[in-house]
């Protein structure tokens, strides 16, 4: 696989993963940018990693955790100081979609480790082995987490959309 191709296929998945983790497109873009720059430098200096996907999402997972920790501290401060980042129209339109909000709420209800495993499978499209290596767990445990998360997510989304239909009617 060539570097250009790897960057192009990883970018949308990294942004989607970042949105699911941080619930912010701006933060997701920053995370994806950092990860891809790290990948490009690694590729240019030492050649391609064994699995570019696992390499990228291992970094993305750490960056997202760091952003969430920073958010917990900075959001109230930014709010008070009126420094909350203004988003462009495209980003506003993306963030205000009902489907996205429902999906993010449903994801939020999942246990943290189950949600992480599900996102790495569904959004990042990593193999069970790659997810196990990124999460520091076994493939069997990851399979179990993903299966459980899928069921819970399906139930939650079904419930949300049913509620929405009822409210609309």
């Amino acid at each position: 696989m060539e570097l250009d191709e790897a960057v192009r296929t990883l970018a949308p998945r990294l942004i989607a993963y970042g949105v699911a983790r941080t619930r912010s497109l701006a933060n997701a873009e920053d995370i994806a940018q950092d990860v891809l720059l790290a990948l490009v430098r690694r590729w240019q200096q030492l050649g391609p990693p064994t699995s570019p996907d696992a390499f990228a999402f291992a970094i993305a997972k750490r960056r997202a955790s760091r952003v969430l920790a920073r958010q917990a501290v900075m959001v109230p401060i930014d709010f008070i100081r009126g420094l909350a980042r203004e988003e462009s129209t495209v980003e506003q339109a993306y963030g205000s979609r009902v489907g996205l909000r429902l999906a993010l709420s449903a994801l939020r209800e999942l246990p943290r480790l189950d949600r992480e495993a599900l996102l790495l499978r569904s959004v990042a499209e990593l193999s069970y082995e790659e997810i196990a290596s990124v999460c520091g767990s076994s493939s069997a445990a990851i399979k179990m987490r993903i299966s459980r998360a899928r069921r819970r997510l399906a139930a939650s989304m079904e419930e949300s959309s049913h509620g929405r239909r009822t409210r609309t009617a």
Binding site: L3, D4, V7, R8, A11, P12, L14, I15, A16, Y17, V19, A20, L25, A28, E29, A32, Q33, D34, L36, L37, L39, V40, R41, Q44, V90, E91, A93, Y94, R97, G99, L100, A103, L107, R121, S122, V123, R150, R151, L153, A154, M157
Partner: protein, 117 residues
């Protein structure tokens, strides 16, 4: 089987919902492929801080070295001329010392340094 298909549909639906706008994807790809020439602003600030600290250190070191050089005594050359039992030592700036035997004890090897007044 249907249950499994439904679960996979949920995943597909989730993936579709999270698909980011193409403008954002293009922007991220373009910047990444530019090879990291555009560093984040925080990196620039860090580089600037490090450069400023290095410049301050270099400036401090230069000033300190100049002070040390000024404090060091100048090395001067001397000429020693023998005239009988007297030696005349002359410094570059013209100052002279006469070195000769003591008048009361004329044993060999005894010399006094006569400092000019």
């Amino acid at each position: 089987m249907d249950d499994e298909r439904e679960l996979l549909e949920i995943e597909t639906q989730l993936r579709a919902t999270l698909t980011p706008p193409s403008e954002v994807i293009d922007r991220v790809v373009r910047r990444a492929l530019a090879g990291g020439h555009q560093r984040p602003r925080s990196t620039y600030l860090q580089l600037f801080a490090v450069a400023a600290a290095l410049a301050l250190l270099a400036g401090g070191a230069t000033v300190w070295r100049q002070g040390m050089v000024r404090r060091q005594p100048l090395a001067s050359s001397m000429t020693i001329v023998g005239d009988g039992s007297m030696l005349v030592v002359e410094r570059e700036d013209g100052q002279r010392w006469f070195v000769g035997p003591r008048l009361d004890r004329r044993a060999e090897g005894h010399y006094v340094i006569v400092l000019p007044e």
